[in-house]
């Protein structure tokens, strides 16, 4: 009896371990440093944000040197996408200001993320964390999202309330075999 229950217990443990273990054993375990270097996706809560900080004034300087040639002085007037909201009434729906990164983005961490992963064109990855914080501060201030004396860092950036934060329609929860829109025959 005893050996039987030990066997059953062993099977139980083996079964639960089996569900957790790799089937093929192919692939290599990356080092923590490798993961840190690659992991540039910044969540809405900013948990992946690196140390560093930047001010609006610092960002203005970085912008002039690194961004203005393509995006224009003060975020407009050149070929690359506009980065400053158009003139509008103070009570205008922020959605109506258009697809401008520092206004449309639902989270300020997303502004940081995009500058960090995609800019400047052909020199991506060349900005320091401090420079990205500073540029984010400058662009958010340019669009009247944060005050001129704000300092952006891993603590303050996720707390910034973006004007379009609650302006997005939810996506439906996907499930296999679902129709696109319940009740819609098409």
């Amino acid at each position: 009896m005893r050996s039987c229950s030990v066997f059953a217990l062993a099977m139980l443990l083996a079964g639960s371990a089996l569900a957790q273990s790799p089937t093929y054993g192919v692939g290599r375990t990356p080092t923590d440093e490798e993961i840190r270097a690659w992991d540039i996706a910044i969540s809405p809560t900013g948990e992946e944000l690196p140390p560093g900080s930047g001010t609006v004034e610092e960002g203005s300087l970085v912008y002039r040197r690194q961004c203005a040639a393509c995006h224009g002085v003060n975020g407009q007037g050149a070929g690359a996408p506009r980065l400053v909201k158009p003139n509008a009434a103070p009570d205008a729906d922020p959605w109506s200001l258009g697809r401008i990164l520092p206004i449309r983005a639902p989270y300020a961490t997303g502004v940081w993320d995009y500058i960090n992963r995609g800019m400047p064109l052909n020199r991506e990855g060349s900005l320091s964390a401090d420079q990205v914080y500073a540029l984010t501060a400058y662009l958010l201030n340019l669009n009247e999202v944060i005050p001129e004396d704000a300092v952006m860092d891993a603590e303050s950036l996720p707390k910034v309330q973006m004007p379009n934060r609650h302006n997005f329609a939810d996506l439906p929860d996907w499930s296999r075999g679902m129709q696109r829109l319940p009740g819609y025959p098409h």
Partner: protein, 415 residues
Amino acid sequence: MGVKRPDRRRFLKGGAQVAGGLTLGAVQPAFGQTPENPTFIKGNEELVLYGERSPFVTSMRMAHPPGGRPSPDAYGLYFHIAAPLQDSVGTITPSSLHFVGTTRGGFIPEIDPREHRLMIHGMVDRPLTFSMDDLKRLPSVTRPHFIECAGNRSRPQYETVQETHGMTSCAEWTGVLLSVLLKEAGVKAGGTWIVAEGREEVKGASSIPMEKAMDDCIVAYAMNGEAVRPQQGFPLRLLVPGFEGIFNSKYLRRVKVVDRYYMTYNDYGHLNRRDDAEGAALGMLIGPKSVITFPSGGQQLLDRGSYEISGLAWSGGGAISKVEVSTDGGRRWVDAQIQGTAHRMAHTRFTYQWTWDGQETELLSRATDETGQIQPSRAQIAEYFNVAVGRVPGMDNSIQPWRIANDGSVHNAIV
């Protein structure tokens, strides 16, 4: 890279000279063959190593949208190329003619596959890095799937099906199911989304629900029997069957398992406003959709008589279960013949043999998918949503009418 690109112009010119020689009688037929015998395409190293189509076949892609901003633009922001569906046969789009959609990443990275790595990390038991060789050791799947750009919209000013519908294509994709890689890494409880990231210069990242990631997404290293083309994401592309084009991340280098919707730049850029939940729902999944590719806008019927109407149908909801055709502007619908097997989330070829009586008429097609969704007309959409005819919420899957004029010319008839 030691092989030189063939010089097409010189090649054509050379062929013309040979042809000219024949008609002038400079080359005598040896065995009394007729002068109609073809000239020869001279064999060369390029044709031995990697074949070419006939110089008489001139089907080409085009920048999209026609008359729109330049593609690609100076900032690589906009690089859309439409497939010539008017010349399509069967269900597979040749890799050279497959549509290309690239927003915010219009430069094609040149990636050495020996150095390429895919990392799976985040909320997993064992982060893993795979080389291309590693991936090819794992169980593979080979499946036909379409990819369609969210901007594939018919507009009244467009003439041809390449303009109205050319931002969709279908290839046979080979790779490893993403679920295999995720199980190998072991998804932790609470891992409800993934963020898939490419290696191009903006490292485009898209959020995908875990349920979809575990269902049928493919980490593809091959299309149409050879390596994925650079414009399609060489060496690795994520296929997210049935979702709008932008989810199908090219140059895939990283899949991060996370516990929430990240709403990345790629994600929120195509999301709808709060008061447009219907548009959001109709923008994520594609179809059901179909279009007649022959006869289609810009083509010409030569004479009254018998013609095979031929077209493509597809849906993000699964397999196409039925395609109907109308040859009288929508008054009467008849079932078209589905050619071969209708695969899930794949272009499906339909045909219908029709006799044109020489009178003006309109040709339409209507697809139904396995979930029972039926392709709507623009009038039905307008009625359902109480909007002006022509406004189509979400992705445009409306019925495409082609008008056949008395002279046999074919025209876009949408309003």
